[in-house]
């Protein structure tokens, strides 16, 4: 009685693929929104930090706003504006994800510079990578890694204190930092692949459940129809 025809199986696979794509897209749109909020939160944090740590630069008796405060306000806004706009107008797009991730790594660069290359601030990079993994899209981790490595390479050559806090690092120091990022990447790429596989598995199960439900409803309808057809003869038989 059970319908196991090829047509039904193809329909299930198509439905599963549709469900899978919907779930992945929803996840990525939601991650875009999360990053938009994070961008604004980091901007506010940078301004508050600048106000608390170094609001003014002094020259004798006179004071003026510290350049770090301007950097927090204007560079922070600059770093945040494009990803926030993209997350609003083009959510879920591949380009949006890559711009957001590049921007997040630029936030790390700004914080590292503003704190004088403090090694503790480098943890922002690793925290950000964990956030990036929310996308379940391993190529964006590669974008993040390239931005971090380039930032460390260029600033390490031009102005090493701003990124390492020391004046004379080895030229290859950026590879050491990038290596630790790659180390985390391995785990996160694996996590992304597992996450996608699990989402696919869930989508297939949901498609199966939907398909079974449809079949059960069809069977119930057919049974009811047969019962309705049989009902008059059953009544007659009972009267006789």
């Amino acid at each position: 009685m059970e319908d196991v025809s090829g047509a039904t199986l193809v329909a299930d696979v198509d439905r599963a693929e549709t469900l899978y794509r919907e779930q992945v897209d929803a996840r990525r749109v939601s991650a875009d929104r999360m990053f938009a909020v994070l961008m604004i939160a980091q901007w506010v944090f940078a301004i508050v930090l600048a106000i608390l740590v170094s609001p003014y630069a002094w020259a004798g008796k006179t004071r003026e706003f510290h350049p770090h405060l301007f950097a927090a306000i204007f560079m922070g806004a600059g770093i945040a504006v494009l990803p926030v706009l993209l997350s609003v107008y083009l959510p879920g797009r591949t380009v949006t994800r890559h711009v957001i991730v590049a921007s997040q790594m630029l936030w790390s660069a700004l914080f590292i510079h503003l704190t004088g290359g403090r090694i503790e601030t480098h943890f922002h990079v690793f925290g950000s990578l964990a956030f990036v993994a929310f996308y379940l899209d391993w190529p964006v981790l590669m974008t993040a890694t390239v931005v971090v490595a380039l930032d460390h390479l260029v600033r390490g050559l031009v102005y090493p204190e701003s990124v390492y806090g020391i004046t004379n690092p080895e030229w290859w120091r950026f590879l050491e930092h990038a290596g630790w990022v790659a180390f985390e990447d391995v785990v996160l790429v694996w996590l992304c692949l597992i996450g996608l596989r699990e989402m696919k598995s869930i989508a297939f199960r949901q498609a199966e459940v939907e398909s079974l439900k449809e079949r059960e409803e069809a069977k119930s309808a057919a049974l009811e129809m047969v019962l309705r057809e049989l009902q008059p003869s059953l009544v007659e038989g009972a009267q006789a």
Binding site: A57, W58, A59, G60, P67, M75, L82, R93, G116, E161
Partner: protein, 208 residues
Amino acid sequence: MTTSQRGMLVVAAVVWIAAIGCGFTFLMKYSVEPGTPASAPEVWPRESQVPAPRGHYLLVMTLHPQCPCSRASVAELNNLMALLRNDNVKGEVLVVKPAEFPDEWTRTESVKSAERIPGMDVRLDVDGVESGRLGAATSGQVLLYSPDGRLLFAGGITPDRGHLGDSPGRQRILSLVKTGTADAKDSLVFGCSLGAKICPPRPKPAGL
């Protein structure tokens, strides 16, 4: 996405990258821009109220109490004094204060940190009179005088503005005290202007 939308996105991305690049360049320039170098007297000025070096090295730092960049200078001074603990070095920090400002204006973290450095005397320098005598114009300026009162070194001890870490200034002071020689007698100094009146005006020393 249409072709025109794609084009707009590319333009926006290029402008975005250029603007951020300009921002970082500005920040880097600010960080490596040195303050006015000292024109320190070659021998300890007799008129100074700070006790002259007599049989010991004297390391003097001028400090603007509100200068955020000078927190790093004070932290480096702490490191330097620790490295010179057994080398007959006394330290003085001159905290510059305009006469019309209250003393509370000087009670900043930089000054408190300086007071915690072993072997360091911290004194108020009202209107920067002492700093002026020593030719110091920038917060974080360090001067090293020999036990017989001769100027050995004048410069900063941070690698750049507000950043901790090893620096040419630190290396030269260590070398001068421990070996009597160094590759140079000055270094760039990074910090806020003291606003002190340099008295008497002296020619600027040769740069690095």
